[in-house]
């Protein structure tokens, strides 16, 4: 029973992380790639960490505190890292892809040349 739950959590997490990798490979510009990486790999890594927490708790009978710290840390720092990368990319003037991209931030902060 525990093994089935751990297997389902691992499969969900790995599916999200590999989706993030495919998004980083396939999407057209840096902002879309940071979007795919920051959202999807955070959720996937949380799910894999939860699988490890469930597995080691069921096997040993004690809660692994360091894995709880990892889950909390990733939950806070994944979106922060993606946001800082996207902000830096905007300020050095990385162009968006051709198509339906809308630059709503240009009214407030013009990008540096």
């Amino acid at each position: 029973m525990i093994e089935i739950a751990v297997s389902i959590l691992i499969l969900i997490g790995v599916l999200f992380i590999v989706t993030a990798a495919v998004g980083v490979l396939r999407l057209p510009d840096a902002y879309c790639r940071a979007h795919a990486s920051g959202l999807s790999s955070t959720l996937g890594l949380l799910s894999v960490t939860l699988a490890a927490i469930v597995y080691f708790t069921a096997r040993d009978g004690s809660l692994p505190i360091s894995l709880l710290l990892v889950a909390l840390f990733i939950f806070f720092t994944g979106p922060i890292g993606a946001h800082m990368l996207t902000r830096a990319a905007y300020f050095i003037g990385i162009k968006q892809h051709e198509g339906k991209a809308v630059d709503e931030m240009a009214d407030y902060v013009p990008p540096r040349d």
Partner: protein, 92 residues
């Protein structure tokens, strides 16, 4: 569960190859930084799955230190490509 962990490790290795292609190819610097960030996520997940596969808890401290190093590296890289320096003194 052994089969599921093996399949998951295979998929993660494939995804790490995709991210490594983006790191090598990426046209601009933020593309490479995003690729390195996603690659570090893959590394953390691979080490967690190796700990489950080997039924040991000694990898979990390595996991927390690699997660912290990943965040520090991403933040430092973002500061570097925004201003050219990592530690600045202009308090803006």
């Amino acid at each position: 569960m052994e089969l599921v962990v093996n399949i998951a490790l295979t998929l993660l290795g494939f995804g790490a190859l995709l991210c490594f292609y983006r790191v090598v190819k990426g046209p601009t610097i933020p593309d490479r930084a995003v690729g390195v960030d996603t690659l570090m996520m893959h590394v953390v997940a691979i080490i967690l799955l190796l700990g489950i596969k080997g039924e040991t808890r000694i990898y979990m401290d390595a996991v927390i230190s690699i997660a912290i190093l990943s965040f520090v590296g991403t933040t430092g890289f973002a500061k570097f490509i925004a201003k050219g320096v990592i530690i600045d003194r202009d308090r803006s």
